[in-house]
């Protein structure tokens, strides 16, 4: 493969060219109730060329690898037609590396019968709970081996194995259907999928309990987020804003996001990094061949860094951070998060809840989005807090806030960091990208909660 790719790169007139070839294998299982709605295996082979020439980018992706040279020429020709202003790339030492998959328990070596057997057990666990009338289970594992070469001399082979599982239970009372879901993922470790019986039972019980749970009254509350939901919160409420492609080409955004700007109190520290090992957002090199880093984004409440591709780093005069990622060969790499977290502080859960007269304790995630100005995220599980105590279960709540002020209302950071490895991130049509996020418990004052 190496000879074929590096040969195709030669002799073109361009500022920069890269080729990516990708082999993938995926196994999917999806249940609705006891029905195995989908059981399939997919294999993929494809590639792309990205070229920078004459102030523009050209991109070509394909499945047929037989005419690689012509594909390179096509991408270069596309780039030349764009004809924009000069684009610089931050310098990165061209790397030559072979990175095998991190796979402590490789799902590719687990027989399909065993995978199905385990999922069958989760289906039975959920359906065995009185009041649960159906459930969904979806599982997928996939490996992706990428061969990357650039006109600067980089050559990297890198393989990743990603696992994803989601359990949902439904309970119904007439026209009212309540659903409870938990999603988890792991990088290359199937053993994680094997011990989720307790989670399956919890998901089932919660769906039934939701039928009789009240809806919260909409309005502003003091909110305590559990580590999983706080991870989603930092991803939506700040993480996307730290992606430099939202900032670099817009003067006003640059003015809003200068390094040194205060976002929160001295107890707030936020980092992102693919170099944090063993998580779903971990890798050795990003999809431009830049080595992974661990980047401080907020240090003691102050903006100190952001996530870059080579282009955004050069444009802003900052260093590349290895955050250019593509979900597959069909897309060019864009600036993405990897493993994003709020670093732990010293507060206990008791410290946090003690003074709360009326509030909401929100746990587990359902989803989240951001517009760069506003963010929303929804909790899979929520409880009223009254006089310092967690009380009744509520229907799922949606929390919303203003990106530039909400972090300042985050007044206590707990001591119990945990990472959320479920789901995936979507941006620019590329979804779901494996990421992780995490945090200890945190408390936010005056958070807008949507309700009935």
């Amino acid at each position: 493969m190496r000879d074929q790719i590096t040969e195709a790169l030669k002799g073109h007139s361009a500022q920069y060219i890269e080729i990516r070839v990708e082999e993938s294998e995926t196994t999917n299982l999806r249940y609705r109730g006891r029905d195995l709605e989908e059981l399939g295996r997919s294999s993929g082979l494809g590639g792309n060329v990205r070229a920078l020439a004459g102030g523009g980018w050209g991109f070509a992706s394909f499945n047929d690898l037989s005419q690689l040279r012509e594909r390179v020429a096509a991408a270069v020709s596309h780039a030349r037609r764009v004809g924009g202003e000069h684009i610089s790339l931050a310098p990165v030492e061209p790397q030559v590396a072979m990175v095998p998959a991190y796979a402590p328990r490789d799902p590719r070596l687990v027989p399909l019968a065993h995978k199905k057997g385990i999922l069958d057990q989760y289906v039975e666990t959920m359906l065995g709970i009185p009041g649960v009338n159906s459930c969904w289970v979806s599982y997928s594992d996939g490996s992706r081996k990428v061969y990357f070469a650039s006109s600067e001399g980089a050559y990297i082979e890198q393989e990743r194995v990603d696992i994803n599982i989601s359990l949902s239970a439904m309970a119904r009372d007439g026209g009212d259907v309540q659903q409870s879901t938990e999603s988890h993922g792991a990088l290359g470790d199937f053993s994680f999928v094997e011990g989720l019986h307790g989670m399956a039972e919890g998901v089932g019980r919660k769906a039934v309990a939701l039928l009789s749970a009240p809806k919260v009254k909409g309005g502003e509350y003091t909110v305590i987020l559990d580590p999983v939901l706080a991870g989603v919160f930092i991803h939506e409420a700040f993480g996307h804003l730290s992606e430099a492609d939202h900032v670099y080409s817009d003067e006003r955004m640059r003015e809003l996001m200068p390094l040194g700007r205060r976002f929160g109190g001295a107890h707030l520290n936020v980092v992102d990094g693919a170099a944090i090992p063993g998580l779903r957002g971990s890798y050795a090199y990003d999809d431009e061949g830049t080595p992974a880093t661990r980047t401080s984004l907020i240090r003691e409440g102050v903006l100190v860094g952001r996530l870059h591709s080579r282009e955004t780093a050069a444009s802003m005069g900052e260093g590349p951070t290895g955050n250019a990622r593509a979900i597959s060969y069909s897309f060019p790499p864009i600036v993405r998060m990897t493993n994003t977290l709020i670093e732990p502080g010293s507060a206990t859960f008791q410290d946090m809840i003690a003074g709360v007269k009326k509030g909401v304790y929100a746990c587990n995630w359902y989803g989240g989005m951001t517009s760069m100005e506003m963010f929303t995220f929804s909790a899979g599980e929520a409880y009223m807090i009254r006089n310092g105590k967690v009380e009744e279960l509520l229907r799922p709540v949606m929390l919303s806030g203003f990106v530039f002020s909400t972090l300042a209302n985050l007044d206590i950071v707990g001591n119990d960091l945990d990472m959320n490895q479920g789901g995936g991130c979507g941006k620019g049509g590329q979804s779901p990208l494996p990421v992780s996020n995490g945090s200890p418990h945190v408390r936010i004052q005056g958070c807008l909660v949507g309700g009935a």
Partner: protein, 437 residues
């Protein structure tokens, strides 16, 4: 080659279905008001579904040189697969559905670049502080389906899409405006997009105080898509109905919406993105009423679900990607128009909101029809007039309660993407919460 796959599969299986798709998409991407990137994205692949000893096996590949591997995977999987209820379609008649415009092939990347730049320049001549992004894209896609009962069809579809997005930042306030045009034919005149963004910018520049409590809400076509499309399509899914997870289970023939409200799925709509002569299992396309004058009249079925539920496929077998087996889903959803103009709806409201776009609407319990979303773009109505944009506001409701309690339905329909056409919906009451300034 597809015959080769079918033949190989039938050596080891009793039934087989081969699905092939190839597409070439050519987008021009604009960033920061200028052309940034030109692309050609080619893809092709085969999905194989077999029935072996009564069980379904499914596999797919984008490596067309590995047909033996594809068949072997389908066989491996079939040992654990679901019992088959498939009745694959044989040779049959298909409706003529216009979905290919040869002009699309002839549009050059220079033409697309020029179209996008003109849109951006026109909008910015009126709003110089708007930072614009745009995409102009064309796609040619060919699909073929072959099965062991004699189905053998193929069709080519053309597709053209123009989207325009503007952001105005003033201090820490951000105003996002967006619209998109989709067609199976070449779009040469996209001034409609500029008019739409211009209108959104005009109405949104001024920030108005929030509107809270239970208030009347007008959903624009984009607002309708955000609030209810996901909930409704998942509730109408025959598989959810069969399994009892749909709130509509057992309610066929019941009134579930205002009598002015009708919804149908019509994959025979000329030049719509979801249109074709057949669904992704080779079943002929047809117009399928789902809600007729407020009454639930049909659900969506694919072959497997229909077999399980004792129904017939409604031509709704949909593959959301090559690697996913068909599931029941809508193709081209159409909400029937009503009688009221948007202007008259606004005039009717003393204090309320128009919701144009929502953030996070699909994150609630969509099965029960609940939605709760931040208003990404919406306007305050006071005494029959639009007074500005509302901020930091969450609108919540339940689509089934909302649909039964409609004040009016708009008389003009608009496309939202290439798969939904709907008028404005005027809801008597939704719950609105806002952060106090």
């Amino acid at each position: 080659m597809l015959y080769e796959v079918l033949e190989r599969a039938l050596k080891v299986a009793q039934q087989a279905e081969v699905y092939y798709n190839s597409s070439v998409e050519t987008p021009a991407h604009f960033e920061a008001n200028a052309l940034k990137r030109l692309e050609t994205t080619e893809s092709q692949g085969i999905a194989l579904r077999i029935v072996r000893d009564g069980r379904i096996g499914f596999a797919s590949t984008t490596n067309l040189n590995d047909i033996p591997g594809l068949v072997a995977k389908a066989v491996e999987v079939s040992a654990f697969g679901a019992p088959s209820h498939l009745e694959l379609p044989g040779k049959t008649e298909y409706p003529e559905v216009p979905i290919f415009d040869p002009e699309v092939e002839r549009v050059s990347s220079d033409d697309m670049a020029q179209l996008g730049q003109t849109l951006i320049d026109t909008l910015r001549s009126r709003h110089p502080d708007a930072q614009c992004e745009a995409t102009v894209s064309k796609t040619i896609s060919t699909t073929a389906i072959l099965n062991s009962r004699g189905c053998n069809l193929s069709y080519t579809q053309s597709f053209f899409e123009v989207s325009l997005e503007g952001t105005v930042i003033q201090g820490e306030d951000m105003l996002f405006v967006y619209d998109t045009l989709h067609s199976g034919r070449v779009i040469r005149d996209a001034r409609e997009l500029v008019r739409s963004l211009d209108r959104q910018l005009e109405m949104g520049r001024n920030v108005a105080p929030p509107v809270t409590g239970r208030v009347p809400v007008i959903l624009t076509p984009r607002g309708v898509a955000g609030a209810m499309l996901w909930s409704l399509t998942s509730a109408l899914n025959g598989r959810a109905v069969f399994q009892g997870t749909s709130p509509l289970t057992g309610r066929l023939g019941e009134r579930i919406a205002d009598e002015g409200f009708s919804l149908w799925d019509d994959p025979t709509t000329p030049f719509a993105q979801g249109s074709a002569m057949a669904d992704d299992e080779g079943v002929p396309s047809r117009r399928l009423p789902l809600i007729q004058q407020g009454i639930a009249v049909n659900f969506l079925y694919d072959l497997q679900t229909a077999g399980q539920a004792g129904k017939s496929s409604t031509g709704s077998g949909t593959r959301w990607s090559l690697g996913m087996a068909p599931i029941p889903s809508s193709s081209v959803m159409i909400v029937g128009p009503g009688k009221t103009s948007c202007e008259d709806m606004v005039k009717d409201i003393k204090k309320g909101i128009i919701v144009e776009a929502m953030l996070g609407a699909g994150q609630s319990n969509i099965l029960a029809g609940d939605f709760s979303a931040n208003v990404l773009l919406g306007y305050r109505i006071e005494n029959g007039e639009i007074t500005g944009r509302v901020k930091d506001t969450v609108v919540s409701g339940n689509i089934y309660e909302m649909l039964k309690d409609l004040a009016a339905i708009g008389k003009d329909s608009h496309w939202v993407g290439g798969r939904l056409s709907t008028p404005h919906l005027y809801c008597k009451q939704l719950s609105s919460s806002a952060k106090e300034a």
